[in-house]
Symmetry: C3
Subunit: 442 residues, 3 copies
């Protein structure tokens, strides 16, 4: 299931980056046509199903909001010149702004402007989903330059009964047990957060669609918070199938890979992701769960408590470009996207192959040498990693330990352990735990 | 229940220091009138009950000793000059000395003198409660200056059948579950150990007496070791009510606050005290339990194993002035007494408020924004501490975690957690765990 | 049971070293007369039982191999000069070499030569037990100097049906529960690995034979791997008696003592050995279990999972002289052998004395002073180690803790704890846990 050759990785990185470039310009929000248009782009890669949930639908403590659409917006200065233009950056509009078209004094205008004094050339990203308002996000440099006078503000938007849209791709595997890959897909022109996640999830889905995996996979492209809540509420009966999950976001920046644990803290997904980062040869960071962040907040709410973590590069809020116009196509790179893809793919590879085995010779070591599995000459200083892997597997395969347990205790990489386990199975020295039980108690 | 304003703290510090000054000159021992006189001073602040236990009473493996009283004591040199005078320092007499009045040679005298060669100007504090003897404690400088000749020693004491005295203040709360505050009150003129503890306990009792606390409180002013053993033996049937406890001592010196854990090591009192020190913003130290120290030795004996720790500043034996005449009114300061008082008060505040809650919306987050509990504009880098506290409480309030558990896991201060929990209760998003059960199963 | 006087230790060190010197020159292998001859030397010290297991015996997944014996071996250069001579070092022959006597070209010869390029003056130790072959081990300097031409190789060995030999000494104790001391005894002239282990085990057995220990002891002198497998297979019904065990090897080099944990990781043997190293006052290292090393691999296989660790100095493969001719009588020293012996003896002393006790006064401390167990004068800064040990034992002897538990929690040395426990038993303040139960439930 791995994708280890360099050429393959370069192609993957380029492919994800290209999809990011296509998604980036679209003005998305938690509802509306920008979201739908984004899903249609993704649907060119995978058989995505689009769901429409009507405004007013009650989902747990929340209500699906009105649908927001926007066509244009600008501010004209007292001289009639357009000084803020939605067509140049969709971040300029406070996301979910009410429609407005009128003249305002500088004072009134300023009460509706957002900027970042510390980064005077960047436009911030701000939203007002659940409190009706209007506003513009501008560079601080522009805000500072405004003179007294009458300004014309125009936001050609609509906020009306409609639908919340989300995309879903369910890939059935050999088992009904599911792995959930969820990414918020509602941010407008912000590359790392989270167009990068949308594109990586798309390519991961495409890649898995070409395999016949053990697990079933569910990919969700949803608006943040309300999307996860909506999906969980409308699909509550299926939630129990979700055995592991990852929230995908911020996967293209140059920062180190970061894994935020599930609320459980020691779930298999947590251990698999940590194993991958530990053996990546690159710097990484492990964060404990906290109920602040992305949609793991909902998946890990106490009523669900799913084994869902989040694998990112620099996490939300920790890089200066976060939620600003500087989170653009320059911030992310194909090589980082490819590296993130590879880590996701390796985590999934572990989950797919993490089984329990039984040694067929539990009493003393079996004689590996006579099977050609062990170096002929004795007296050496060290065994090879492959020999060590076999010895560890034989020693720990008493039904208590999975291959990941063995990888962790031995300090060896899962890939080496899995390779050695296959060799031992081939030579009849190892049997799969479940199969063994099945044959013993027919 | 907190006492956070600066003025209040200054008044408390001054009040405790004043009581220390009044208690300091009295010559206390494990029995006798000095002990009674001290309790009478304390009884001017709180409704203290005095108990008298007759000499010879069997208490577990021990026997209540004879009562000791002293009126005067001195040593006259060969020239008839008083060179050691009990009236100048009650430490001069070996505590529990037999009465004596006779002439002795320098050689015999020296066999009954105690000094500290390393601190030639300080008088040591020594006792001989359980082996009858007589002696004087003197500065090493004096001891070194003594010439051959005949000395007159006089100890005008009595050691006779009488009583062991202790003071007790029981403050009933809403529950019969008790918090025990115990301080040894038998040391003569030693300020930090433990007049400071006696005075702090008095003011804590006074302060709690003005509240209507959840727990009942029991304050014990007892002679060290034999007092705790006596109380435990005579009140064995009530011991099970003690849920938490602290031994108070050495609370006025400039050293960092130190918490010595109960024998259990992870009792709620241990976690509450450690939380307070950790969030104090000041240096602190946590010590594991050991069966050497103050009366926690008895409360934590295996037959009781109470959740009793000890919150001090510099612990016994670790400061040079310990058990010497240098443990005087200069060693302690009102500000340190106030800081210690504040920590005791905060620990108690945690115990009083450390409950378990249930989120009324366990599936996904409730919508805080529509209740005015969450910032209106989205897209910010960080949530406030108050918002984080609410999210943590909602995420962990599944009946398993107390507010202290949540404070520890979130890294937030208990006070912030408690404040946020109250807000969530007010908005119907949280219910107390016990109450919930009660309403569900009437 | 300890052997703490310096003179005794010097004698022990000298005695072990002498036995090493006698065993060192013998050419051992996993079978054959060299092994038998070594056991006969050991049998001069302890009543060793020799076992002979026929070639072809099936032992779990293995088969007892043919017996190997060797009389002579050499290589003659084209000038007819002996350039490699078995009589100068038995390491020169690839252990288990087939008999051969013929002329070979330099090219063919080189395919059968082993050397260490990094250590050009040392002869390596190599074996080929389970794949029939012939070969010589030589210094790299010699290998490099060889000119083209015809060489005469002669190995006067035999590889024929015979027996696998092992030595066993069972010392019955008060209980049928056993402590296993196992050492591989098949290496030829290699001093530290493992003639030092054979000699230390011999002296330990001799020493224990003069006691009447609580545990029974089983000493095994076996060929590595196949010997342990053979013993376990033929004695499977007795394996359950083995409660603790140590694999002895590499006990004479100057390196620090190293303990490799059993597979269980927290067995009593693990805790006892770690305690001894921690309190030795010398540098030491603790290694986690791994299924690579000596015969702990077999004892800790999942079907047995015995509590067997390994106490060595520098472990296998970690010192440059390992498995080379430089592992000679200069590498080891009597003082290191004595130090290792002392550590083995102290570990055994802990296991012999590690019991559970009950305080006869669980409620509060008993009064130690009236029994002469406590310093008469109060007010001191510190208690003595002996007093602390008594307080710890009294505090923790509620039936949950062994003396080793108490030593670990208190930070005191087991010896001090044991000494204090004996004093408390003498004064009736402590009773042995089992005995107490016996008297309570007759």
């Amino acid at each position: 299931m791995g994708l280890t050759n360099l050429e393959g990785m370069e192609a993957i990185g380029a492919g994800i980056y290209k999809l990011v470039s296509q998604l980036y310009p679209i003005c998305r929000s938690i509802t509306g046509d920008g979201f739908r248009q984004s899903l249609q782009l993704i649907a060119q890669h995978i058989p995505l199903e689009l769901h429409e949930v009507p405004t007013g639908t009650q989902v747990f403590d929340w209500t699906v909001p009105k649908e927001w659409n926007i066509r244009d917006a600008y501010i004209k200065n007292p001289d009639g010149e357009i000084i803020v233009d939605f067509r140049r950056s969709n971040l300029h509009v406070l996301n979910y702004s009410l429609p407005i078209r009128r003249k305002v004094s500088l004072g009134e205008l300023k009460a509706h402007l957002f900027s970042i004094p510390e980064q005077p050339d960047w436009i911030p990203y701000r939203t007002s989903y659940y409190r009706e308002n209007w506003g513009f996000c501008v560079t601080h440099r522009l805000l500072e330059s405004l003179d007294e006078g009458e300004y014309e503000v125009c936001i050609d938007s609509s906020l009306e009964a409609g639908h919340l849209t989300y995309g879903e791709y369910y890939l059935p595997g050999q088992s009904a047990d599911e792995i959930l890959i969820s990414c918020h897909s509602c941010h407008p022109s912000l590359c790392n957060d989270n167009v990068s996640g949308m594109a990586l999830a798309t390519f991961l889905a495409k890649h898995l669609g070409q395999q016949s995996p053990r697990y079933s996979y569910r990919f969700l492209f949803i608006p943040v918070t309300i999307g996860a809540i909506t999906w969980l509420c409308l699909n509550e009966s299926q939630v129990a199938n979700i055995k592991h999950g990852l929230v995908v976001a911020c996967v293209g920046d140059p920062g180190k890979s970061t894994y935020k644990k599930s609320r459980r803290g020691d779930a298999e997904i947590d251990r698999a992701a940590i194993h991958v980062l530990r053996h990546s040869g690159l710097d990484y960071e492990i964060l404990d769960f906290s109920p602040y962040g992305y949609d793991e907040r909902q998946y890990c709410s106490p009523g669900f408590n799913l084994a869902v973590g989040s694998l990112t590069r620099t996490p939300h809020g920790r890089y200066p470009e976060y939620h600003t116009s500087a989170d653009n196509l320059d911030l992310i790179k194909p090589e980082y996207l490819a590296d993130s893809f590879s880590k996701y793919s390796t985590v999934i590879n572990i989950l797919e192959n993490n089984r329990r085995y039984l040694s067929t010779n539990p009493k003393c070591e079996p004689q590996l040498g006579k099977r050609g599995l062990y170096e002929a000459f004795g007296g050496r200083k060290k065994a090879s990693q492959h020999e060590l892997a076999m010895l560890w597997i034989l020693n720990l395969s008493d039904g208590d330990s999975t291959l990941l347990d063995i990888a962790e205790r031995s300090g060896l990489c899962f890939e080496i352990i899995k390779y050695a386990a296959d060799a031992l199975v081939t030579h009849g020295l190892l049997t799969e735990y479940g199969k063994h039980l099945a044959s013993k108690h027919p």
